[in-house]
C-alpha cells in the first residue's frame, strides 16, 4: 500500500492507495498533479533513508510527502 502524505493545519492528511489498482493509481496521480500545481513540493525517501525531491509521480514510492511552498519569514 502506497501513501501520499500532505502537510496541513491538522498535522497531515494521509491518502493510501493500492499501486496495483489502476483507478486508485490514476486518482493518486491526479492528487499529485493538483498539489504540485498549487505549489506543494513532493519528496520521497530513498532506500538508504535519504530524502529526495521528486518531480514526477511514482506509484511505486512507498511514501510521498508534500510540503507547501516556503517563503521568507
Amino acid at each position: 500500500m502506497a501513501t501520499q502524505i500532505v502537510m496541513n493545519h491538522t498535522g497531515d492528511a494521509r491518502y493510501h492507495f493500492d499501486a496495483e489498482d489502476v483507478r486508485a493509481v490514476l486518482k493518486a496521480e491526479d492528487r499529485f498533479k493538483e498539489l504540485t500545481l498549487v505549489g506543494f513540493t513532493p519528496a520521497v525517501r530513498t532506500s538508504s533513508g535519504e530524502v529526495a525531491l521528486t518531480r514526477t509521480f511514482d506509484p511505486t514510492a512507498e511514501e510521498t510527502l508534500f510540503f507547501p511552498r516556503l517563503v521568507g519569514g
Partner: protein, 139 residues
C-alpha cells in the same frame, strides 16, 4: 408561598439553560484545545518518522537537530519552532547566522521543521534564496 412559585420555576429554568450553555461552551473549548494538541502531536510524529536516526537521537536529547546543506555542505541547526528557528552553525556548533523561511500556510511546528530540513537537504540554495537572514542573537 404560592406567590413565589412562578418566580422560582422561572429562575430554575434560567439556571438550567445557563448550565446547558456553559456545558456546551466548555465542551467546545475542550474539543478545540484537543484538536490543536492532536495536530501538534501529528506534526511531531511525522517529523520523527522522517528524521534520520542520528537526527532523531539529537532531537530527542536536545530539542534540535542538525542538517547538512546539499549545495554548500554547510551545517544548519533546526530548533523546535515555527519561525526564526534555523541557525547556520560553525564547526564548534556556534550559530553564525539565522535563516528564516517558513511554509506559506499555517502548519504546526513538527511540519515546519520537517519542511525546513527537506528544503536544506535537497534544495539549499532555493531555500536560502527566499529566506530572510537574521542575527542569531535575536533568538
Amino acid at each position: 408561598m404560592p406567590i413565589f412559585e412562578p418566580l422560582l420555576r422561572a429562575a430554575e429554568a434560567h439556571f438550567r439553560s445557563f448550565l446547558a450553555v456553559s456545558v456546551r461552551g466548555a465542551k467546545a473549548l475542550r474539543d478545540s484545545f484537543g484538536s490543536e494538541n492532536d495536530a501538534e502531536t501529528r506534526g511531531l510524529t511525522l517529523l520523527r518518522e522522517w528524521l534520520s536516526p542520528e537526527q532523531l537521537a539529537q532531537y530527542q536529547a536536545n530539542g534540535y537537530f542538525d542538517v547538512t546543506g546539499c549545495d554548500s555542505g554547510k551545517r544548519y541547526r533546526i530548533h523546535y519552532g515555527t519561525s526564526m528557528n534555523v541557525h547556520e552553525i560553525d564547526g564548534a556548533g556556534w550559530a553564525r547566522a539565522g535563516w528564516c523561511f517558513v511554509p506559506n500556510i499555517y502548519l504546526v511546528a513538527g511540519d515546519v521543521m520537517l519542511a525546513q530540513k527537506i528544503a536544506l537537504e535537497t534544495d539549499e540554495l532555493g531555500a536560502l534564496a527566499v529566506a530572510k537572514e537574521f542575527s542569531p542573537s535575536r533568538r
